[in-house]
């Protein structure tokens, strides 16, 4: 009887643990090993020590990709700001507000590939965006939105923001609805104006959601791929202007067949992600201590 009981929990765990062991744990170990090898998937890996890492340090495109990924993190504060603002607006009890909420949520479910392709068509030199700006007289000449290196990253970041804002708005809305009405009444009695009310009641009340969104959206920003892929047609933009760390990893591993070198990039990504997660958790802990 006791014997049977002691085996039961493991039986329950086996299917899921097997999947995670094969598709997450083993690959982590393997990618560490590959990063020290010369490997092209079709031929067996060959140990080369630190060669990939040395090559990586000297690779200007890697540094460019790394800086692009760090720049990309600007989407996190932008998303937090815009989605809190929008959540405050849709938290008002107005006729038709439910329809607006649902509408704003649509980009979150429609998938970044389809939407990225749609935006690419709109941003074409002969597309609707140039057409509109020209006919309104805002532009004299069409802008080459997707062929101008300086615009690649900002446009991708705008797309990421556009895709995410409705989802994060819902997260903050759920948070706002958990804030007791009395706190707002108290703020009103204390003579707070609208801005002070949100500054002193809404923002502190939303702290768990802000932490959640900060963690999730910054990890997503570090790993951005689909937006870059669709907007640049899989090329990474002119002069690598849209190449982020994950895009560079993908290109090295699956376009150029440098799996060993790409594994070294993967290790850098892992270190950055870990550093970021630890930082985020620290900030979270400090936040809860302050309460």
């Amino acid at each position: 009887m006791t014997k049977k009981l002691s085996l039961t929990p493991y039986l329950f765990l086996i299917p899921a643990l097997l999947v995670i062991a094969v598709f997450v744990l083993y690959p982590i170990v393997a990618v560490v090993y590959y990063s020290f090898t010369d490997y092209s998937i079709s031929t067996p890996p060959e140990w080369v020590g630190l060669k990939n890492y040395q090559q990586l340090m000297k690779d200007p495109i890697f540094w460019q990709a790394l800086s692009h990924s760090l720049i990309y993190l600007i989407v996190t504060p932008t998303l937090i700001f815009l989605s809190i603002l929008l959540a405050i607006v849709v938290n008002r009890k107005l006729p038709g507000i439910h329809a607006f909420r649902a509408l704003f949520f649509i980009p979150a479910i429609s998938g970044s590939i389809a939407v990225g392709i749609a935006w690419r068509l709109m941003l074409d030199t002969n597309g609707i965006i140039n057409g509109t700006l020209l006919s309104l007289g805002i532009l004299k000449e069409p802008i080459q939105w997707l062929a101008e290196p300086a615009y690649t990253l900002p446009i991708a970041m705008m797309l990421t923001t556009w895709l995410g804002v409705g989802y994060y708005m819902m997260v903050f809305l759920a948070g706002l609805q958990n804030i007791p009405e009395e706190l707002y009444d108290a703020a009103l009695i204390d003579g707070c104006n609208v801005w002070q009310k949100h500054r002193h009641v809404s923002i502190p009340g939303l702290r768990p959601q802000i932490t959640f969104v900060a963690v999730i959206s910054s990890l997503a920003a570090l790993q951005v791929f689909n937006e870059i892929f669709t907007l640049t047609g899989g090329l990474g933009g002119i002069l690598n202007s849209g190449v982020t760390i994950v895009f560079y990893l993908w290109r090295q591993a699956f376009r150029l067949n440098h799996a060993g070198f790409a594994s070294a990039i993967a290790m850098v990504l892992l270190v950055i992600t870990l550093a970021f997660s630890i930082m985020n958790i620290r900030i979270l802990e400090r936040g809860t201590e302050a309460d």
């Binding site: 002691s6 929990p9 493991y10 765990l13 299917p15 899921a16 643990l17 999947v19 995670i20 598709f23 997450v24 083993y26 690959p27 982590i28 393997a30 990618v31 590959y34 998937i41 607006v89 849709v90 107005l94 607006f100 649902a102 509408l103 704003f104 949520f105 979150a108 479910i109 429609s110 998938g111 590939i113 389809a114 939407v115 392709i117 749609a118 935006w119 068509l121 709109m122 609707i128 057409g131 509109t132 006919s135 989802y167 819902m170 997260v171 948070g175 768990p208 959601q209 990890l219 790993q223 791929f225 899989g234 994950v246 990893l249 993908w250 591993a253 699956f254 799996a259 993967a266 992600t273």
Partner: protein, 288 residues
């Protein structure tokens, strides 16, 4: 005198409220336009006939000569129905099996005491922050050399049959079920599997829905890994097929637009039908 003053103060307050409401609606409508415009534009473009210009100043939004020819062209040139079928097969298999496997795993983690429980839990927690791209290189090698399912549908199903986030959400839900219920079941001589299926699973149905919806949206829109695995057109899912379509119709904005509409329509319909569940499900992970 006194009365008129109160009245004017009252009027001013009403006036302010009306102005505020108008401003709010202006903001809401602006955001709505920015949100919905790409969908509207892509929809109208997909219906444009050969005489409707894609490029013009001022731009033309609504087709004068609407036609379904673009859809027919795309449908005839690419195995679109296979894209749909494959996406449905992949998404449904993953949603059902992933929910089942993670619910199984979450039960002992929430309700049983056994050797290694905390170690397993923290190991899972640690894997949660590992970027999925990181595992793609070894997973690719496994797919080609070990499982030999490269370019086949199982390649995009098997890696997703368990998810750490889902285990956490379900563990949390199981934890909130009172132990008395389980003990009652054990007294009646029910096996742990029966207790899990007959007592616990019905109680945590809302969390199961959350998990199913998160997994559904994730899988339906999954691109990175499927694009590495699926190369024969007949084996592609919708997202991968859409990128292939974009390549095949490079100079045909109407055709690409039709492809985008066909990809997005099912999930938008699904979302409209189950709005509340979608929103609750996708944001439910926060409380976690």
């Amino acid at each position: 005198m006194q009365q008129t003053q109160t009245r004017s103060v009252y009027n001013a307050a009403v006036f302010r409220q009306v102005i505020e409401k108008i401003l709010l609606y202006v903001v809401l409508c602006l955001v709505a336009v920015v949100t919905i415009f790409p969908f509207v534009w892509v929809f109208f473009t997909s219906l444009k006939g050969p005489n409707d210009p894609i490029v013009s100043v001022p731009p033309q939004l609504i087709p004068q000569d609407p036609t379904l020819a673009n859809y027919v062209r795309v449908w005839n040139q690419l195995p679109v129905w296979r894209f749909y079928l494959n996406s449905v097969i992949v998404t449904l298999s993953v949603v059902v099996l992933n929910t089942l496997f993670t619910a199984l795993a979450a039960y002992p983690l929430a309700k049983m005491k056994f050797r290694g429980r905390d170690a397993i839990f923290y190991l899972l927690l640690a894997t949660y922050i590992v970027p999925p791209v990181l595992t793609s290189i070894p997973s690719f090698v496994l797919a080609v050399n070990v499982f030999r399912y490269y370019d086949k549908l199982p390649a995009v199903i098997f890696p997703y049959l368990a998810g750490v986030l889902n285990i956490f959400l379900l563990r949390q839900a199981f934890k909130s079920v009172p132990d008395d219920l389980l003990d009652a079941g054990r007294m009646d001589g029910a096996s742990e599997l029966r207790i899990w299926w007959n007592i616990l699973m019905p109680i945590i149905r809302p969390t199961l829905a959350t998990v199913a919806i998160i997994t559904f949206v994730e899988q339906w829109n999954n691109f990175f890994w499927p694009s590495l695995m699926l190369h024969t057109r007949e084996n592609m899912t919708l997202q991968v097929g859409l990128v292939a379509l974009q390549g095949a119709f490079a100079n045909d904005a109407r055709g690409i637009a039709a492809g985008v509409v066909m990809t997005v329509i099912p999930i938008i319909i699904f979302f409209s039908a189950l709005q509340q569940q979608f929103v609750r499900g996708l944001t439910g992970a926060v409380k976690g």
